[in-house]
Subunit: 582 residues, 2 copies
């Protein structure tokens, strides 16, 4: 038996007990006549004590020579600590060691195993197994486990069945790029790894499974952006005999359950907003509504003077930045520079200071008088002391730019509070989106999303205006989930494929099995998927997902710890009937 | 709203309520003046009634023309049924329909959607989404879900953390063949899909995670045998600071919990048996101990006469088949033929009938007298009325043959009862096994399994005799799990690699990251993995796993429903820098 207790367990009630502990040496403090060792395991830290009077000489020496991260086992008795440590639960006791065994030595670790480490990202990733020993990473992984247990038990209680769908499936060119797997037994053929279990969950609905979920790995071979991973985890769900309202209610319930049980935050009904409204008010289909700064459209009150830039713009739009009237010229110039960065791309910024005395001072005083500016303040909701920032240009672009500015300022002003949670449903997404590159419409979600019945007639005349039965769940400015009511009628599905530019043959080759299935009594159905990595990160009060994944890959898709991907044997290639072509 | 209740929900207490149901048409019985429709969903079947007197003519016609598997929605009132059906929970009521909507028509399904179907395996697999509508398949998938929830909650309560390990990892030639995934971003390099998360779970132990588990898909590119799948699911576990005893206790607890909560079967301490004993007593490292028929070794009592076949054999061994003394000559000849089939490979079989009157009649009466045969009966534990079957030859081969005969006879005699559960730990597996083909020793489990300390000295002199700290959990003659205490010392690990024929360079290239990790304070650790598909099947009282997997592949590794694997675009191949070579 390696231990009678963990390193997080002993309290004053254990005093005088003989115990056995095992763990890692966190720290050794050697006062000569006395040696203290902090012993660490997953559960906490317990102080060990060796002293000249009570400890044999040889054991003193062993203790003095312990290195950081040595693995040891000790036996000893629990005694009261002279100077108590209120920062840790075991701080009232220590263990007077009577026996010590070094189970394994350790080289000096390449970075400190502390909450704040001196290791950079690259080093931490290479030695991820050491990084995981650090509390922030370890606790994030434990937190992830807790969330997954809550999700599974909640959905299970609601009658959902977790069904494992296959990982070795079929490649379809629609959507992102697939990872493929050459088949040795089927010469010249490939499996694909799933980008999501979309078609399988629909087939489960056709199969009468009624309520399905799965916490499942998905794969996308995309050029990685920051904070994206080639393999990621989804909470994937589907329900039969439901309308949009049923789905929103179930997953609002799940999210409320998680917030209550994990964060002790009670939230009532989630607000809903159409995609159009979100774009108009926040320039963003995943607005952070923890704070205001809603967009005010200024065309009516700003295009009546001689200011050409505004007069020629499709949209003039501003936000009121709370308390920022006091910004210096230099600060405002810096803001202007910020929106002019290529990542944002505005051509300039107009500002209005709303002075405490009710007067206004703007960068366009040459064109607009106090009455004009007062109207701008009304439209943007600016109060005395606020700063109005105004951008102009093509409507969509300008909204995106102002949204970026809004988020940046909120971050700087501390309005994006990690302990505040503001969920929001964004509904009525467009069915199709225009792709400049291929000059055709693509499905905004996927080709199985159903159009709103009343909009189907627009498919021929004004496809961009067709709304879908599609919805996203947004939490604190992050899309954490999205889904739709699916098409379950084979004729409507065929019509959709046509509008997405599939020939009948292409549709049949790629989705024939789904079209076939729809001929045998498909029920109305719909569902959604939550991005689990992000959901966990946000619930954990963070916005980057990396520390909530045990072994993440870097931005080149590499696992630097195990050094994957890597070359494989010629023998293996030959068996797979493939050849490198470099 | 598509339904107010499910089709399994209505009882007498609902009589006179107006309800809305949706589901599939299971059956239409048309008496002319009356039409009954069985409406089915995941939850059950409810009878709908339409009759001349109370139903409008047009609706009668709609009802009469409903086809099997049409998806319909009905409104109506719950009424008491005249002739009640005690076989289904809703059998006391029916719904008098006032409104009917056909939500989706269905072609006639290619096989009947009944508990016993007329569809063969191939058809069922091609239309798996219809097969899933059948109760036996649907219930198996729901059962699987229940087991997974129990496993997760039990392990979670025991302090285990579920950690997701990566799917895109590194190929290692040891073990079975890997599926590989070409990397587009890392030219000429490949990921591999994990055969198990073995190294990652060991790294999690090095990382201080202490108790890990995961229900996880694993992949092996093997030539498929019956009832094997290229992707399969494991309950994977690992613990730090443990000895073999700790691990056996935890997973005995899990198995006991599952048997109690899922099958309402209470089982005390699981028996344990060494590998050697299992082989000697049952000729099998996964013996079914629900019934006796233990091997009796007859060398001492059968090699003293002139029967050359026995005298020259390394082993003479028999079993007592209960009540089989009454077998006719023809039946016994058939048994002899059975053991002589190439799949078993015995050269012949000797039998002894233990007559009810205490006398014996054998096929070798020419060589052995009644006293001899009485001793055989004593050694094999045969009673009056039993038949002793004796095989002889090289020890290992003969044991395997007799084991096959034992299992076959138990099956025929109905001794392998589906509702009886007999778990068993088999311990002290050999560390190494001799491979005839490559003429060297291979790791019986994997290269990280620790040898028993007292046997390490035999590594040089008698490697085949070295026992490992390795154990299997056997349930009803099936191995449902196995594991070992791992090596955590880098020197011992290096020694093992040497004995397995790895050069230092090979070991470093393939497992360098693990060897590196072991230098930074690896704790003693060990674990095990349960084959989840098989565990669920056995708990479900079956021995084939296929119906406990939603979308299984066939023996050629194909998913015949979606037709995968399949060809991919030249464009895709080019991006991946590979070329077919056929």
């Amino acid at each position: 038996m390696y231990r009678s207790h963990t390193c997080g367990e002993l309290r004053e009630t254990h005093i005088n007990q003989e115990v056995t502990l095992s763990g890692w040496v966190q720290k050794v403090r050697d006062k000569g006549f006395m040696v203290w060792v902090d012993l660490r395991d997953r559960y906490g830290i317990t102080q060990l004590i060796f002293d000249e009077e009570r400890t044999p000489k040889q054991m003193m020496e062993t203790a003095e020579n312990l290195g950081r991260e040595f693995v040891i086992q000790v036996k000893g008795s629990v005694i009261e600590r002279e100077s108590k440590n209120n920062n840790i639960p075991t701080g009232n006791i220590e263990v007077l060691v009577s026996e010590i065994t070094i189970l394994n030595k350790s080289k000096t670790p390449p970075f400190t195993i502390e909450n704040e480490t001196d290791g950079g990202d690259d080093l931490r990733m290479k030695y991820r197994y050491l990084d995981i020993r650090r509390n922030p990473v370890k606790e994030s992984l434990i937190f992830r486990h807790k969330v997954s247990i809550e999700v599974r038990n909640y959905l299970s209680t609601q009658g959902f069945i977790e069904v494992e769908t296959p990982y070795l499936i079929k490649s379809t060119p629609e959507g992102a790029r697939d990872f493929v797997v050459p088949s040795r037994m089927n010469e010249g053929q490939f499996y694909a790894l799933p980008q999501s279990p979309q078609t399988f969950k629909q087939l489960l609905m056709v199969g009468g499974m009624d309520k399905y979920f799965q916490i499942v790995k998905c794969f996308r071979d995309e050029d990685l952006r920051a904070d994206r991973q080639p393999e990621f985890t989804q909470i994937d769900c589907e329900m039969a005999f439901v309308e949009q309202e049923d789905i929103l209610n179930v997953f609002e319930g799940l999210t409320r359950h998680l917030l209550k049980n994990i964060k002790d935050v009670e939230i009532g009904d989630f607000p809903r907003m159409t995609y159009d409204e979100a774009m108009r008010k926040y320039g963003n289909d995943k607005p952070d509504i923890r704070f205001g700064m809603e967009f005010g459209e200024l065309n009516e009150v700003a295009q009546h003077k001689d200011f050409k830039i505004f007069n020629q713009a499709e949209l003039v739009v501003g936000i009121a930045v709370p308390g920022a009237a006091s910004y210096t010229r230099k600060q405002i110039d810096a803001l202007t520079d910020w929106v002019k960065r290529p990542q944002v791309g505005a051509l300039g910024m107009v500002y209005v200071k709303c002075n405490e005395d009710g007067t206004f001072k703007s960068s366009v005083d040459k064109f607009y008088d106090q009455d004009d500016l007062k109207k701008w303040a009304e439209v943007t909701g600016a109060q005395a002391g606020d700063l109005i920032c105004v951008l102009s240009g093509p409507a969509n672009k300008t909204r995106t730019q102002l949204s970026a500015l809004r988020m940046e300022l909120a971050e700087r002003l501390g309005l994006r509070k990690a302990d505040e949670y503001a969920p929001l449903w964004v509904v009525d997404f467009p069915l199709l989106e225009w792709d400049e590159e291929t000059e055709r419409y693509h499905a905004m979600h996927h080709p199985f999303t159903s159009p709103k019945t009343e909009d189907i007639k627009l498919l021929d005349t004004d496809p961009g205006k067709v709304r879908a039965n599609a919805y996203d769940l947004v939490l604190n400015g992050n899309e954490i989930g999205g889904g739709s009511i699916r098409i379950y009628d084979k004729d409507l599905q065929a019509l959709m494929f046509k509008h997405l530019g599939f020939t009948e043959e292409e549709a049949k080759a790629q989705f024939g099995f789904l079209m076939d299935a729809f001929q045998y009594g498909a029920p109305p159905h719909g569902g959604l998927a939550f991005g689990f990595d992000r959901l966990v990160a946000i619930l954990g009060g963070q916005e980057t997902i990396r520390d909530f994944i045990a072994f993440p890959k870097n931005n080149a898709g590499r696992d630097v710890m195990i050094d994957a991907p890597s070359k494989i044997d010629d023998e293996q290639l030959k068996e797979l009937n493939i050849k490198l072509e470099i």
